[in-house]
């Protein structure tokens, strides 16, 4: 058994077919950053606790640090570089990218690609109906600068959610998904 074997894989990354030969232990995150040249996706904790490495695989948000590149053979990956309309610098930003700018939803910016990919996944999932839902369902992305208010505003603006909507599926206010209901 050759432990150092290279495994040929094919991924569709941001609409482009790409082929790689990778060792078994290479994570999707390391493949994106170090072999595909896509450094927009960030390595924060490398343990699935911070969300900086969030990308979309087949349209679903995942932590790219906790999956192996070989496990994603034949799958479609979208990173922050693939969210905007086109590949040129003057092409239109994704609405989430523009909203993050509008709401100053970052300070250092390190968590931002993960935040935006996570928000794109959240919108596609269709479970969030209220501001509290958005907060709960963005809880997998930490921002150590504390830009949370701007991040939440950016996401609810794109979703068209009003501030005063009633609690919904993930609000915590109804005890459905979050901590103890304090009565």
């Amino acid at each position: 058994m050759d432990l150092y074997q290279q495994y040929p894989i094919r991924l569709r990354i941001n609409g482009q077919e790409r082929e790689f030969d990778v060792e078994s232990w290479v994570t999707l995150l390391d493949l994106l950053r170090e072999r595909a040249g896509l450094t927009g996706t960030k390595k924060g904790c490398d343990h699935g606790q911070c969300g900086a490495c969030t990308v979309l695989v087949d349209g679903k948000r995942i932590n790219s640090c906790l999956t192996l590149a070989v496990m994603q053979n034949d799958h479609e990956v979208t990173t922050i570089e693939g969210l905007a309309e086109g590949a040129q610098e003057d092409d239109a930003l994704h609405p989430l990218q523009q909203a993050f700018i509008d709401h100053d939803a970052f300070q250092c910016g390190y968590c931002t690609p993960g935040q935006i990919c996570s928000a794109a996944g959240l919108i596609a999932e269709g479970q969030a109906k209220t501001v509290d839902d958005v907060r709960e369902l963005m809880s997998g992305n930490l921002c150590r600068c504390g830009a949370y208010p701007g991040i939440t505003q950016a996401v609810i603006q794109v979703m068209g959610i009003k501030q005063d909507a009633k609690p919904g599926v993930a609000s915590g206010a109804d005890g459905f998904t979050t901590g103890a209901v304090l009565t």
């Binding site: 058994m1 432990l3 078994s24 699935g48 906790l66 192996l68 963005m138 992305n141 005890g175 459905f176």
Partner: protein, 339 residues
């Protein structure tokens, strides 16, 4: 990570053949196993990627024989948001959504959720002794950092907790775990799937080497639909492991008399903790905080703290009363409306 071989069989028999090899481990979501491999806590010589088994239907979620059948490869998020699960098993849906983050729930599978390992800091830190990681080296947790750890069913050798939320609901709802190996199939009642540490803390469950979880079944639970609640108490409001969690379900008569009750606890033991005797004592009683408190006393019988986690003795009792009271008022469904 230490180097390892990788295979990706296309059918269950192929997976079972690979799993029979020494040092082989299955990987599906990878959310816990790959992290443990990065930390050097686990170092399998071969990973058997079972994700291609989705094409064999191992990722299905369906109502069956008056109950529910959850494929081992179905993702936690797909399970929690599934229409049937939400409508007929809201307790399970709530418990799953109380765990991890949306990204992790998109990756993690139902089978993997059962097999996730304790988050005890000593288990994770290969620079310290740990009887679960390296049998015979000792347990620093008993006199060390144990805020998160167990108060029930502990042993001299280990006070680890099982970290799952989903499993607490599965225990309350009397699930069964269906497994396959080269020698055939068997069904493990949920109560017997996870084990107490005793003098073999390295064993989390009764799953045998070479066995693969194929699916989980739940019996009909319609009588609990109107009155169930999952309460999770943790150090921050979201995305944290439970200090204490409670899955509570009541079957109430029109006059408020308890016909049947289910209560399971997370964050307090090496397995989801359930005392069926306490549930039986509730039957026939009027639903009230007083009788809930008596049940809580019974469930916590024999509990002991280890210093930093002493507060859990009180917290667990209060959480039980809170969960049963919340359940009594009515299950809170997806739209914030009571059933």
């Amino acid at each position: 990570m230490k180097p390892f071989a990788f295979t990706q069989p296309k059918d269950v028999d192929g997976v079972l053949a690979q799993l029979a090899l020494d040092g082989a481990r299955p990987v599906a979501g990878g959310t816990n196993l790959l992290d443990l491999m990065k930390e050097g806590v686990m170092s399998p010589s071969q990973l058997v990627d079972i994700n291609l088994l989705d094409k064999t239907g191992l990722d299905g979620i369906e109502a069956s024989e008056g109950g529910l059948r959850l494929g081992a490869l179905a993702r936690n998020a797909d399970t929690a948001y599934h229409d049937t699960v939400r409508k007929r098993y809201p307790l399970l849906s709530s418990a799953i959504l109380a765990g991890a983050s949306p990204q992790l729930r998109n990756m993690a599978t139902n089978g993997g959720n059962l097999l996730q390992r304790t988050r005890c800091v000593y288990f994770y830190d290969v620079g310290t002794p740990c009887n679960k990681r390296e049998p015979g080296t000792g347990c620093p947790a008993k006199h060390g950092i144990n805020r998160q750890l167990a108060i029930l069913g502990t042993s001299e050798q280990c006070i680890a907790t099982h970290p799952s939320d989903m499993c607490v609901a599965l225990r309350a709802l009397d699930a069964s775990v269906h497994v396959r190996s080269a020698s055939g199939e068997r069904v493990i009642p949920f109560a017997e799937f996870h084990r107490l540490p005793g003098d073999r803390p390295e064993l989390d469950s009764t799953l045998q080497p070479g066995e693969l979880i194929t699916h989980i079944t739940l019996p009909d639970a319609d009588r609990f639909v109107k009155h169930s609640a999952y309460i999770k108490v943790r150090d921050r409001l979201s995305y944290a492991f439970a200090l204490v969690s409670v899955a509570a379900a009541l079957d109430l008569a029109e006059d408020g008399t308890i016909r049947a009750a289910r209560i399971a606890l997370g964050g307090v033991a090496h397995k989801p903790w359930r005392v069926e005797e306490a549930e039986q004592q509730l039957a026939g009683q009027p639903a009230s905080e007083t009788v809930f408190a008596a049940a809580a006393e019974r469930i916590l019988q024999g509990a002991r703290g280890y210093g930093q986690n002493d507060f859990k003795l009180t917290l667990a009792k209060n959480a039980i009363v809170q969960a049963l009271t919340t359940a009594m008022r009515g299950t809170e469904h997806a739209k914030g409306e009571r059933a």
